[in-house]
Structure formats: C-alpha cells, structure tokens
Symmetry: C2
Subunit: 483 residues, 2 copies
C-alpha cells in the first residue's frame, strides 16, 4: 500500500524532487524487519531510501518496537547540491543527557553536505514549538548549514501534529515559518536565505492549546467518519469549555448537549447551561435524573438498608448520567465527548463509567487553572461562556452544598504540585523541598498513584502537554510508589 | 530501594552465592540511564553486575524504553567454576528471523564457561512452557553446557509468571524441573547432572490456563490489598466460569454474585445461577433491573419517542447492571470482576460500561470454545457448573429469544478465524486462502478492527495466550486496516 502510493508520487516528480516518509523493509535477517525511512523521489522514481537512526522509545514513542536503527550514512546529490536528509529524532540527541550512541548529523557532515532536510512528525505540546525552533536553529549553527525542517500537520487520535515547518539559514536565523495547525506550502530560493520573512504566529500557550484541541477533535471525528458529538452539560466550567471547543471543531449544529439535573443541582447549573447553548446557538435536551436515581435506590435498598449515604450514592448519580449519554449516543450516532480535566483525572476526582465515560477526552490534558484561561480565551471576542460559570466556585453537585474545595486543595496549589510530579517527574521529597506542605504533597501523590486503575479505563485524551495521561505515561496499577 | 534490598541479601551470602535481578545505573552519558541487570552476590557483597544484552521491545515488552543494551561480556568465576550468566531474552534470539545483531552466549563462550545460568521473568502463555523447554535445551546442546534456568513466579496485573524453573545438562536433557505456579527451591550437585528426575507436571492447555488464572486473580487482589470480589451472574457460561475461578483464587466466601434478571431473562438464567452458588456455597443477591429500565425509558421517551427499539435499549440493560455492580463495589469494597471472554471482546459483542465494566477481566484472553473446556475442567471432580449452563445455547438475553448465533457465526468457526488473525497475525487474504468464507472473514476482521475503541477502555485482562488484548496488542482506534 505504501509502495503503491510512493510510486504514484514518484511518477509525478519530473523537474522536481519530493521527500516522503514511509516504512521500508530491512533485507537483513538480523534486526527488526522494518526501517523508518524517507524516500527521495526524483526523475520519475525512487532515487534514495534514507533510514532513521535515532528511534525514540519513550513517552508516546515506541519506534524500536517496529524499526531497526540505521547505521550507514549517505548524502543525496540533487541538482548540484549535496543534501543531508534526516528524520525527526535524528536531530534531537542534543540534551546534556545523551540518549543514543551515535549522532547522524556528525556522520553525514563527513561527506560535506550543502544543506540539510529533516522530515518530522513531531507532536504538539504547548511548549514544544519553542524547543523545536531552538533545536533546529542550534543544529544549523553547529553544522553551519541551512536546515529545511518539514513537520506533519493533523491529529491521530490523542496525538496532534502542529506543523510549523521552517527554514533556517546557516547562521541559525529562522528565515521562513509555516503556520501551525494548517497545511501550507512554500517556495523559496535556496541560494538566497538571508532575508528574514516575518510570520504572524502566536506562541501564546492558551491560544496554542485552544487551536490544538480544535484540530484534535476535528481530525478524530473526520478520520473515524463521524460528524456529531454529544456531551453532558453540567453548568460547570469543564463541560462549558468542552462544548465551545467542540462547536468550533465540528460546527455548532453538530454538538448536542444534555443537561441532567438532580436533586443536588443548583438553579444556576441549568440556567448557566442554557445560556451557553443560547450564546452558541446549539441544541440541547434536559433529562432529570431523579426518577432513575430513586429506582436504583429502591432496587439497592435490600442490600444497602440504612447504611449512611456516601461515595456509592454520589457515583450512582454520575453513572446514571453516563448511561443517558451513552443511550443517546447509541440511538443517534453521536460520539460522547468526555469533559474531565487533567487535575481531576490525576487525583481520581471523577466516576469511572460516569463522568469519565466518552469516546474522546477533550480537555483531559488541561489542568483546571488552564481550563479557566481557555474559557477567557474563548470569550475574547464576546461572551460565549457565561461569566457566572467562570466565577462560581467549582462543584461536582453530587451532595448538598458540595464544593471541590471540600476534598481537594485550591486548584492553583493542586495544579502546581501535579505539574511537578507529572510533567517534571519530581519525587515527593523534591516537591516538598520546593516549599509545599509535606502532608498535602504526600496525600496528592498517593491519590495520583492510587487512581491509575481509573485512568487505565479512560478514553483517549487529546495531548497538549509534554506528559499526558495515556500512552505517554505508563504506570502500573499494582505498584510500590515512593512516598 | 533496590540497592538496599540487594545489600541486605548480599550480607547473608557467606558460604553461598545468590543471583538477584534489579536495575542498575548506566554511568555513561550516552545511551539510556539504566541497565537491566543480574547481581551476583557472594562473600557478603555484590561481586558482579551483569547487564542484559537483548532487550525485548515487542508484544507486552517495552525494555528499550527504560534500558541500555549491554555490549561487554564477562564470565563469573566462583568456587572453581566459570559461570556464563545471562538474563531471560539473552537466550532467545534463536528464531529463523533474528531480531538482534549480537548473540550474548556466542560472546560468553569465547571465555570458556563451565556452566550457564539464566534468570528470567518469562510470562505465561498456554504454549510458552513447551517452547521455553525447547529453547533452554537447544541452548544447552548448542553450547555443550549445563543450563540452570530460573523463572519468576507470581502475577503482576495482567501478566502471570508461571515459574517452571529447570536444570538441563550439557546433552540438553531436562534433569530437574520445578512446579508451575508455585514458589519452590531445589538443591543439586553440579558435578552430577545425569540422573533425570521425574516431575509430575501437566502440560494440559486447559489445566495450565485454569491454574494461571487462579494465580492471576489471587495475586492481583493480594498486591492491591483487596480480598473480596463481586460479579454479575447471568446464568451463562462466562460468568459461571469466572465465579468458579474467583472462588478458587480468593476463597468461596470472598466472592459475591449479583443476579440481575430483566424482562428478557429466561427462568433457567436465575435457577442455573442459584445452582452454581449452591454448589460453591457462595453468597448472592437478586436485583431485578426492570424498574430501573422503565425509569430510563420514561426519562428518554421525549427524545426517543416512538423510534423502534434496538441497540440503545439492549445496551441500556447491560449498563444498568454495570451501575448496580459498581454501586455494590463502592458500598462494600469488593472489586468487580469482568466476565467477558476473548471472542466477544474481539468482535465487540459487549457493552462498554455495561458487561465490559470491572477491575480485572478474568477470562478476557480465553476464547469461547476454551471457556467450555474450562467449565468441564472445573467440573472434573464433581459438578460445580450446572450441566445446563454448559449445554444451553449462549444468549445475551437483551431482547426476546435472542441467541448469540443470531449475530455471530458458530463459535468454533469464529474462534478459529480470530485465532488466525490475532494470535497468528495472518491477513484477510491468508485466512480466506485457508478455506474460510470470504464474506465471513471480512465481516469478522472488520468487527475486530472497528472495536478497538471499546477495548481501549476495558479493564486489564489476565494474559494466558501469546497475543492478548491489552499492552501486548497495540492497534490504533483510527486506522486504515487491510480488508
């Protein structure tokens, strides 16, 4: 299949050359059966197949599962230029702590190339674009070569590729940049790489996250062949932000909301929810869960008798909502969007098969404090998310007068501790040494570790940070953790 | 932590040596930061640290994520013997299709060892023990060396390690074997390895699977610090077998069953379920789901109106049962056991958050035809699973007179096709060429691929085959599959 497509492209390459990424077969008996390769196409056929040397096998990457690393280095001659062609990670072994035993560019430099091309599928995280620019620019400076960096754009389930291809001259100046989150093409004269061309491109964290999630939702639905989503709208900030993002990704008329108030819901839960639907012009239904809750109470009474109400009853409400959303999904073919945020996914402040249900988690890699910033960003050209949703204290509304702050520390503290543990991979002692309360740190880290079992069964999460829950963070359910 | 434990063991090694597996730090800047190592302890301290060379990174294995492969080879001298010490996979690059570029035993043989030790954490699958014996025996013959093979016993979430350590003499004869699924110790004279000692050990596939699952359940609960399980008992063979296995693993009094009949349940569903509880002497409750079902119907009526009943209504029943099981779990602290089999998990014949819920899947790596054999094996010393459960035609009982065979082919055909696709990793054309109906093969493979999204959110599955759903089989939710 890949070969067919490559030959088709090759045929069109007459006065032009193209570089296409695809696997290729390792003819040797020893080693893995495939290489991760770049095909150099020109004059109607495949001229060179260059293999990737550095195979990332960490976080979301599993390349050594499938591919054999390259150990032979070859320069490509084309139209009087010698090209050093590498693939993504090949340029990235530049940290203080080197991960590999060979440096492909060092090897290629022995053959005196005139320019370097790197083709990449480098996934988005909100701070990765900046690092990426530094890496390409550092390489250009180090090797005194112009670099043409071409990055993939589009999303594949949880991974979002943001594009942002660039051309860097031999001095390390970025002279051309392509936009993030959209396909684009560029023609330029390789003998004149001095004029820096200004590109209007924001590196604002929240704007990047916003655009990444919109692309992530849109491509997930498109590639699965689905068009419509449904979500539970609680009156809280998470579902409001998820709805606004989904409406931007799929079109307002393709996102349906279900409001599912209970005996513990406050009036503003419904009125705030109605207001965002009105602001967006999106459809909704209201399904009260009290009758279903009572029927479960009756069914369970012979077992539960007069035991005090607690977690079981709270989860029951969340699961009834999950059942209703899934029933809607089964009946009308809408994919359920999960609206959990990263803070609650981290500490297990959510109900498995209840509010943790859904086909795709929209903001599961966004900490609660950033969800607020996303809401403000969404409102920048006019109110979409009602101000009251942004300002009222967060509550799961599963018991009378419940507030998130009853069981969790304030989010700005919680999120900081979580960030140090998850993204920065610091241990408890290091985090305590930063000045956080010891008992609090231990309690939060214990919750994170304890709730691996819940995250094991959660939906794919759109990845916007450099350490998201899912394939990039594999922790055992049964484990002895430091404390 | 590991260092502490190793030093503690080392101190006790006075007139004896011990080999202990643990990670060790790679002091070089280049490469990964850890080695996967074997510590050779003698005379009160660590004498040698031998690193693993071949790092499996396929199926359930991810070793190159964490470890640097060894490239230096060293023989250990102890009490006048020269020992070639290797770790697990180091002996396994023996297939026609070599996966690695170096062979550790070939390297070690240059230093003329007298005997070889291999420490392993080689996970169970029902045909792996036989392959393992062949591999150790072939190595012994090839290198004309006695081999001491020591394998881990115990389960870690989905992985079950079956032990079965063995000693093989230089002619390749297995002269001593340790039991499967239990800890054991053995002393023998290394200068007299000719006498073959008979061990009573069955290699019967169903008995191995049975014992593996019992160990898997028991260690999962023990290591999590839980003692009690709950499951939904439907009257079908899957939940009956799961209950019997759980009762053997956790003790009869620690497994509670909930019978949840509906308007579509046949009389024998309840009576057969009661009979197995009676046979085992285990506790149960009966919770009728009709009232809850009706309340959901009423709640959803404004949306569903007079649309014909279908999948949404069937899933609703399964999800109500899931909610009840989870409520019980939350209230009483029992872990919910998932009772889905591999055939239905493969084709998506199950309801997400309904019968697919639970903390651990007991028989999710056992095809339906093997579930029947497990039932018969469980009954071998007297009826535990009522004969009627084994002989009646399987049904999900989610609509009147439903049979599995309404929507699926007979299980002996389905399971064969699934086995070729999943375990043997054959493509559609290869399977059709074996003589199966083309339309049927394509339909089944399409169902397997389509349902990745459901399996993404399922519980850990005890692995008993060489290709189980879960970490060992990573397929994209969004993918272009061959058809």
């Amino acid at each position: 299949l890949c070969t067919e497509s490559i030959n088709k492209i090759a045929k069109e390459c007459r006065d032009i050359a193209a570089v296409v990424g695809a696997p290729s077969i390792n003819p040797k008996i020893e080693g893995k059966n495939l290489y991760n390769s770049a095909y150099f196409l020109a004059e109607g056929k495949v001229q060179h197949i260059i293999h990737k040397s550095l195979l990332p096998t960490y976080d979301i990457f599993d390349e050594y599962r499938y591919f054999e690393p390259n150990k032979q280095f070859e320069i490509i001659a084309y139209k009087g230029k010698k090209i050093a062609l590498t693939i993504c990670e090949d340029l990235w072994d530049i940290e203080d702590d080197l991960m590999y035993n060979v440096n492909p560019m060092d090897e290629l430099m022995k053959q005196n190339p005139d320019l370097a091309i790197n083709i990449a599928a480098s996934p988005f995280s909100f701070d990765h674009a900046t690092i990426r620019k530094d890496v390409i620019s550092s390489n250009a400076k180090k090797y005194k070569l112009p670099f043409y960096y071409v990055n993939h754009i589009g999303a594949q389930t949880e991974l979002i590729f943001d594009g942002g291809s660039m051309v860097v001259n031999a001095k390390g100046d970025i002279i051309q940049e392509l936009p993030y989150f959209e396909e684009a093409a560029l023609t330029l004269d390789s003998d004149n790489l001095n004029r820096v061309i200004e590109v209007q491109k924001s590196d604002n964290k929240i704007e990047l996250i916003h655009n990444a999630i919109v692309l992530g939702i849109s491509d997930y639905f498109k590639k699965l062949g689905f068009g419509k989503a449904v979500l539970g709208l609680s009156g809280g900030i998470d579902s409001a932000v998820a709805l606004a993002l989904a409406a931007r990704a799929l079109g307002t008329k393709n996102v349906h909301s279900i409001l599912m108030p209970s005996m513990h819901s406050s009036d503003h839960s419904v009125s705030d929810s109605l207001e965002i639907c009105k602001n967006l012009g999106s459809s909704y239904d209201i399904l009260n869960i009290e009758d279903s809750y009572k029927s479960f109470e009756t069914t369970l009474h012979p077992l539960f008798k007069d035991m005090p109400e607690g977690l079981a009853e709270e989860n029951l409400q969340a699961r009834i909502r999950g059942v209703l959303l899934m029933a809607y999904s089964n009946k009308f073919g809408n994919i359920v969007l999960n609206t959990s945020n990263k803070s609650e996914a981290a500490v297990g402040y959510g109900t498995l098969y209840g509010d943790m249900c859904g086909g795709l988690s929209v903001i599961g890699d966004v900490y609660k404090i950033d969800v607020y910033d996303l809401a403000r960003f969404i409102n920048k050209d006019g109110e979409i998310i009602p101000e009251n949703i942004i300002t009222k204290p967060p509550s799961a509304e599963l018991r009378p007068n419940q507030k998130d702050s009853d069981s969790l520390p304030e989010y700005h503290i919680l999120d900081e501790i979580l960030f140090e543990y998850i993204e920065k991979r610091k241990g408890p002692q290091e985090i305590i040494a930063m000045g956080f309360d010891e008992a609090l740190v231990k309690r939060i880290l214990r919750l994170v570790n304890l709730n691996e079992y819940k995250r094991y069964q959660t939906s794919p999460i759109l990845r916007v940070s450099n350490k998201a829950f899912g394939m990039g963070r594999r922790m055992p359910i049964v484990g002895k953790y430091l404390s």
